[in-house]
Structures are given as structure tokens and as C-alpha cells.
């Protein structure tokens, strides 16, 4: 028997929904209010007066478990669940929480089969079991949601690779309903970019280009319908954000300046088609850098990394995979000075430092550590490398990021604009994961038809 302590009504709903979906007899004791805004005296009073009575009741009374919220499908794949006009279908889907609030393309069997022609895999193939719904991701429901998102049938191999990332435990989608409300950053590499007309240049993430936009929309629809991340219960995003258009890399610019495209840097062959997905809590300002000297650009990039990354992340052992998107004009300056992508990543990690005084002050502000925690203590207990406490000087500089931090450097955007952007990743939630896109044997013939 167990009882889970949830903070406030929102998390109580979330814990109950997740427990019910998992089929667990999960009892929840609700702490009243927002514990992070309470001082210890208030916390102690609330535990004594409110929380403990609930804990005792849940552990000692033989209450019947709450009914599971049936989030998975009980019908067979091809069962017709509704028939009606475009408007009626959309209303039916909207009422059941099956859309993102925008009109969807009605998923008829005929349209789904058009998508299935672009894969050699069985529609019944299970790609994984997804949390929190414990529902199966299959080739079939990838196609259904692809239809709904407004994708073209030939995008199907990319959609399958995206679902494979989402089903991979290393990606950590099960934490996708956390309060930062992160959204996926989908990065595409390989010849498929041009075959399917993905944009990698000016305004690539602005809605408008069908490939970039509809594939980005697919991710969010699939996350809603298969793992069932629903705001108000299993999705606790504080604010939430729209889906992001796919970032296709400008591999020609990479080649021109001798930089490895992202997928090659991650161990794939240049001709492989690869999807890489990482979570992004937010993107930075698309900041301007100036001058002919690479040092001036690097200084500003490091400064923005410093603004985007908070001390508590490394202080809690977060190994993350942030993204830096550079335009070709900036790459040309850095490459000319001898910097590779790997050099740049190391440069950022080495130079994005802050004073120990600031690091300690900041890591304690947001309720991330037990009061009294210090950098010296974290180093002593092995939670941080010794670089964080080489002396007791509060003005010494300490790194912001752990040495294992990954930087995904991507070349995209307006080739002639001197702006760059950093996307901050969210720890084990949406950690950068890549999948090779599997094309059907008759890909060429299918595309030309």
C-alpha cells in the first residue's frame, strides 16, 4: 500500500490520472497550496494539520480504487468510430480531446492507407508502449495522426522515425507533462530534406511551409493522442507553447565551411536520413553578433549561454543537450578561425562561467536544494566535480554546465543574417535522441508517382 503526496489540486489531478491510467491503486494526499512559496513553519503546520490525516486515512481505510480513465482505444484500428461532415468530424474529435484545437484532416481508412504505402512496415508493428497512457504506438496510429496533422503521405517515414524517438526510453517522453511545458525541437538531416521540400533557410520555422509545419504539428498531436498528454490532468505545463516547425539543417553550408552536419557528428553516414529530437523549454532571443573577429561572436554566444542556463541545473546533476542554431554567415567567420562544431561546444562549456557567489545564491533561490546546501558540500558529497570548489573565494569562477553536457550545433536560418539562437533543453525529459529514417524499398518510384 502506498500514498503519494501531491502539491495542490493540480498535481492531485495529475497523479490520480497517471495512476489510474497505469491501473494502480494510487492514493493521493494533497498538500494545501504551493509548498515552494511556504516557509518551513507553514509547511510544518500544514503537514501536522492537513497532510498527515490524509496519509493515515489512505493507508488505513479500505477505500475502493478510483476508476481508471480509459485513455486508450478499445476499438480495432479500422473500426469506423464516427461518420459525418468535415465540421461534424472535427466537433466529434474536439469533444473527445483528440485534436490540438485546430481543424484536423478527417482520418479515413483511404487516407491512412495512402500513408501506409510509404512504409514497408506492418501497420500492426508496435513501436513501444507510451506513458502515461500505457497505450501502444504503432505504425497505424502514426499514420492516423499524420493524416490529421495535414502531412503528406510521403512524410510517413519521417513520422515513423519521430514516433520511434518518442517511444525510446532514453528520450524520456514519460516526463513530457512536466511544469516547464517544453516542446520538441525536431532536427532533420539527409537527402530527404530536399526530396520532401523541407526549408532550412530564411524563416524556416514560421508556419507556412507544409513539410516543416505539418511534421511539427504531428509531434504534438501524436503526444496528445497516444501517450495522452492532456492539459489539466497528465500535462502540467505551467504555460505551454505551440508546436515548433522542423529545423532542417543547411548541409550545403556545413560542407562549404567544413563542418559536419548534426547527424554525421552523431555517428551517422552523410547520406543517411536522420531525425534528432530534443526538448526545448524555450529559445533565446535570436541575438545579433557583430564584427569580423570571431572572438566577438564567441563572446556573445557564451554570454547568451550564460543567460539561458541556470546554476541549479548542474548543481542537481543535470546532463543536458542544448541546441545552438547558427546562420551560415556566422559559421563562415568561426570556421575561418579554425573552429569546428566540437570546438565551439567545448568553448561554450569552458567559458560559460559565473562567480561561485552568484552560483550559490541562484541555486538556492528556486527551492532546488535543502537550506544550507553549499558548493563545498556538493563537491564533498560527489554531486559536483572538484572544479566547482577549487578555493573558498566567493568571486572565483565556476562552470555553469557539467562536462558531459551536449551541445547540438545546427546550421540553419537566413544565410546572410548575423543572428543566432540557443534552445535550452530539459534534463532527462526529451534528451537528444536520433533515429535513422527507414525508407521503403520503392521510395524513388513512390515519390515520382
Amino acid at each position: 500500500m502506498s500514498v503519494t503526496i501531491a502539491i495542490g489540486e493540480g498535481f492531485t489531478r495529475s497523479v490520480k490520472a497517471i495512476g489510474a491510467q497505469a491501473g494502480l491503486d494510487l492514493k493521493v494526499a494533497t498538500y494545501p497550496g504551493v509548498i515552494s512559496t511556504h516557509e518551513r513553519e507553514t509547511v510544518a503546520r500544514n503537514i501536522e494539520n492537513v497532510l498527515v490525516e490524509q496519509i493515515v486515512r489512505h493507508l488505513t481505510s479500505d477505500e475502493a480504487p478510483e476508476q481508471a480513465i480509459a485513455q486508450g482505444s478499445s476499438s480495432a484500428d479500422r473500426d469506423i468510430v464516427f461518420a459525418g461532415t468535415f465540421e461534424a468530424v472535427n466537433q466529434h474529435f474536439y469533444d473527445r480531446g483528440w485534436t490540438d484545437g485546430l481543424p484536423v484532416v478527417p482520418p479515413t481508412v483511404e487516407k491512412i492507407e495512402a500513408f501506409l504505402r510509404f512504409t514497408d512496415r506492418s501497420p500492426d508493428e508496435v513501436l513501444g508502449v507510451m506513458h502515461p497512457s500505457l497505450a501502444q504506438a504503432t505504425i497505424w496510429n502514426v499514420a492516423v495522426n499524420g493524416v490529421m496533422a495535414g502531412c503528406r503521405p510521403e512524410y510517413m517515414p519521417i513520422l515513423v522515425a519521430i514516433a520511434e524517438v518518442m517511444a525510446d526510453p532514453r528520450y524520456g517522453l514519460k516526463h513530457g507533462g512536466s511544469t516547464p511545458g517544453w516542446e520538441a525541437m525536431i532536427i532533420l538531416n539527409g537527402p530527404i530534406r530536399d526530396q520532401l521540400r523541407f526549408d532550412c533557410k530564411q524563416g524556416l520555422q514560421r508556419p507556412g511551409n507544409q513539410a516543416n509545419t505539418s511534421v511539427g504539428r504531428f509531434y504534438r498531436l501524436f503526444a496528445r493522442n497516444v501517450p495522452r498528454f492532456l492539459p489539466g490532468s497528465t500535462d502540467m505545463a505551467t504555460f505551454g507553447q505551440m508546436f515548433r516547425g522542423v529545423v532542417a539543417e543547411n548541409e550545403e553550408a556545413c560542407a562549404e565551411f567544413g563542418w559536419a552536419p548534426l547527424h554525421v557528428a552523431r555517428g551517422y553516414e552523410p547520406d543517411d536520413n536522420v531525425v534528432t529530437i530534443t526538448s526545448a523549454r524555450t529559445g533565446s532571443d535570436p541575438f545579433t553578433t557583430a564584427g569580423e573577429s570571431p572572438e566577438r561572436h564567441l563572446e556573445m554566444i557564451v554570454d547568451w549561454a550564460r543567460r539561458m542556463i541556470e546554476p541549479y541545473q548542474s548543481s542537481r546533476g543535470y546532463v543536458e543537450s542544448h541546441v545552438l542554431v547558427l546562420t551560415p554567415v556566422i559559421v563562415s567567420l568561426l570556421a575561418r578561425a579554425g573552429y569546428s562544431k566540437a570546438d565551439l561546444a567545448e568553448h561554450i562549456k569552458k567559458h560559460a562561467t559565473v562567480t561561485a557567489r552568484y552560483y550559490e545564491w541562484h541555486m538556492m533561490l528556486g527551492d532546488h536544494h535543502t537550506p544550507g546546501t553549499t558548493l563545498a558540500g556538493l563537491v564533498e558529497q560527489g554531486s559536483l566535480p572538484r572544479e566547482w570548489h577549487l578555493s573558498d573565494d566567493p568571486d572565483r569562477l565556476v562552470p555553469l554546465m557539467l562536462p558531459q553536457t551536449d551541445w547540438l550545433i545546427v546550421v540553419a536560418g537566413d544565410p546572410l543574417r548575423n543572428r543566432s539562437c540557443i534552445y535550452r533543453q530539459n534534463f532527462k525529459q526529451g534528451y537528444a535522441t536520433s533515429k535513422k529514417i527507414q525508407l521503403p524499398k520503392k521510395w524513388g518510384a513512390l515519390l515520382s508517382s
Partner: protein, 101 residues
């Protein structure tokens, strides 16, 4: 107006409902394990929970969250996989898991 015959977009459920767990009549004499996601000052909150419960049931035995590890941190998978063995080893009758938020 054209009519569309549509299928549902959800995945088939793979999980099965677990059986209902019977509860204790009293907490006296029981061993309660504490699981922490290392959020919201767990040292202090578990200490206060222990104090409040011991007032009501003086013979409860607690197994500290430090014995199980942090279910939120980078070792989450290892920590969760080790739970069944540790819960059995510590002979836990019940678990308080916190703080979800």
C-alpha cells in the same frame, strides 16, 4: 456535403489494472518506506511527516528516503529498478512517496 467515415487516433491500451490492495487497520508496528523525488525540501518534509505520524502511532518504523535514492535524478531508472528488492529487504509494509509537483 461529403461524409467522412473516420477511425480513432488513440493507441491500444497495453496495461492491465492491478488488483486492489487491502489496507492496514492501524499503522502501529508497521514499517513505512519514504520515496523522494528530491523536490521541495524532502529532508524537512519527511522529518515533519515522521514527527506527526509518530505522535499518532508511536511504534511506526521509517526507512529514510536516502536508502532508496532520488527518483527524480539522473539515476532514476536504476533507483526505480532497485525498488522492489529494497522494499522487500527493508520489509516495508507501506510507502509514502513525495513530493509530486
Amino acid at each position: 456535403m461529403p461524409e467522412y467515415k473516420v477511425v480513432n487516433p488513440l493507441g491500444r491500451r497495453a496495461g492491465q489494472r492491478k488488483g486492489h490492495v487491502r489496507h492496514a487497520r492501524t499503522l502501529d508496528g508497521l514499517t513505512i518506506g519514504e520515496l523522494s523525488n528530491n523536490k521541495f525540501d524532502p529532508e524537512f518534509t519527511f522529518q515533519e511527516i515522521e514527527k506527526a505520524l509518530l505522535k499518532r502511532y508511536p511504534t511506526i518504523r521509517f526507512v529514510s528516503h536516502r536508502e532508496f535514492g532520488d527518483t527524480y535524478g539522473s539515476r532514476e531508472t536504476d533507483v526505480i529498478e532497485s525498488l522492489p528488492e529494497k522494499l522487500a529487504r527493508f520489509e516495508c509494509d507501506a510507502v509514502i512517496s513525495g513530493n509530486a509537483g
